[in-house]
Symmetry: C2
Subunit: 276 residues, 2 copies
């Protein structure tokens, strides 16, 4: 294929990459280059923010302020860490009823509240007021980023459109971005599509809103199941391990379980790999 004929189709970033291949006397892989990435979309809970450490710290402050202390009634996990872990364990099952169509579209805000309501009696907190329950649910809006997240995103934003692709809602993700200083260009999420990942409508709907082919979008995630679904629908994929996301309960996603297009230890290394 002809270099000059092809070259007019590429962006500055792509041209730099092509020139570096030319210098190294390598033949550009046109098929791959023709689908270079325009947008990086990020899973958020666990990939960008450390929900577990953030919530435990928040809820311990909340408990001190309101003189509330969770104790387990079944001899299992105790304290706020146990409640946080149990709450997160209810996350995927709570979305499954929506994914399967067994119940109509329900926001994550509502699912979070229902899961909390179900858990509180187990921790001896069944008489917590509605206002306090709302305060705990809103805690999910204000989570701290991993130490590399903001600096890495800031670098990546110079080269690519960066956005969320999260099962969180638009308000939650907007509040979180303001709180944590996440410099998103755009917020794409479950409630735009009224479906939860890994439903195809989320990945395909996001590419459609970005007015590009799925091949030009890359998902960055710490979860292999999410990357598998993204790849199935044409996305490029990047895995960033977050081995402490689930604390002592973590049982998977310590490493890439497939040949994802990129694998990086953090967002800084990913920016390096992508020339950002």
């Amino acid at each position: 294929m002809n270099w000059r004929g092809e070259i007019s189709r590429f962006s500055c970033y792509e041209l730099r990459l092509l020139l570096s291949l030319k210098k190294a006397n390598k033949t550009p892989d046109w098929g791959r280059l023709a689908h270079l990435v325009q947008a990086l979309l990020f899973d958020v809970f666990g990939t960008v923010v450390d929900w577990r450490t953030s919530l435990i710290a928040q809820f311990e402050r909340f408990g001190k302020t309101h003189n509330l202390r969770p104790g387990s009634t079944d001899g299992g996990n105790l304290g706020w860490p146990g409640l946080v872990d149990d709450w997160r364990a209810a996350y995927q099952p709570s979305m499954d009823a929506v994914r399967s169509g067994a119940r109509p579209w329900t926001t994550l805000e509502q699912l979070h509240r229902e899961s909390l309501d179900n858990l509180l009696p187990k921790y001896g907190l069944g008489d917590m007021s509605g206002a306090h329950r709302e305060e705990l649910v809103r805690g999910w809006h204000f989570l701290d980023p991993w130490p590399d997240s903001v600096a890495g995103l800031t670098r990546l934003k110079r080269k690519f459109i960066i956005g969320t692709l999260s099962n969180g809602g638009l308000r939650l993700l907007t509040d979180m971005a303001k709180y944590a200083g996440l410099p998103w260009d755009t917020i794409l999420c479950s409630d735009l599509f009224r479906h939860y990942k890994p439903d195809p409508k989320v990945y395909l709907g996001a590419a459609e809103l970005l007015d590009t082919a799925p091949e030009n979008v890359m998902l960055v995630a710490a979860h292999n199941y999410d990357l598998a679904a993204a790849r199935k629908h044409g996305y490029k994929t990047a895995f960033v391990a977050r081995p402490t996301e689930y604390g002592p309960r973590q049982q998977k996603d310590f490493k890439a379980e497939s040949d994802w297009d990129y694998g990086a230890k953090d967002f800084g290394e990913l920016a390096e790999m992508l020339g950002a």
Copy 2:
């Protein structure tokens, strides 16, 4: 009404405002305060960016590069300014067919292309290539802000969620934000709702995604028709005049045509009024 009883319902920003009223020995207007604004949504074309000046400059460069010069075949407007003005004049009519339901959802990208295709023969450019037409259509993604826009938005962002509420598409608005440095927290637009303003679904859908009542959202716009629709659906309203938006063809929107909640000469004055 009781200060202590009411006070727990308010945010930090609202409390500061209440305390300043108390200091000044003024009675807070509870009805108004109870609906204080959480998010400011902005019309974009004309309100935030100067599409006319931007496009004329872009297209004049495009014409020089490609040796293309529009001449009128009907003795009317000549040159790139005439083409830009005619193109914009086709904007509202092109959306009307979608608004009325006469045609199914069609993106602004597609409508822009169709309107351009219709206009080019009049300017003696009927044989322009598809690639050049696409280049002109994409010109709408890269518009310069009014001189006060970026500084004003940056101030307002410290106090409020700031977002778009535009008939542009998500990709167009994302490209524009990156190009013009518009610090949006979130991008809300026609293709999320598959309806164009002033369809109620746009205003109500945006409030729903922000997980709040329309009363807690304020539309900022340079167009009275947009503010009228926003108010009808419960929004607060702010008018900012942009009297040169349409150049010599401007015939309306020189001033507020109703008692909008706020009126400001630019975004800086609006930030001042809102204590941002």
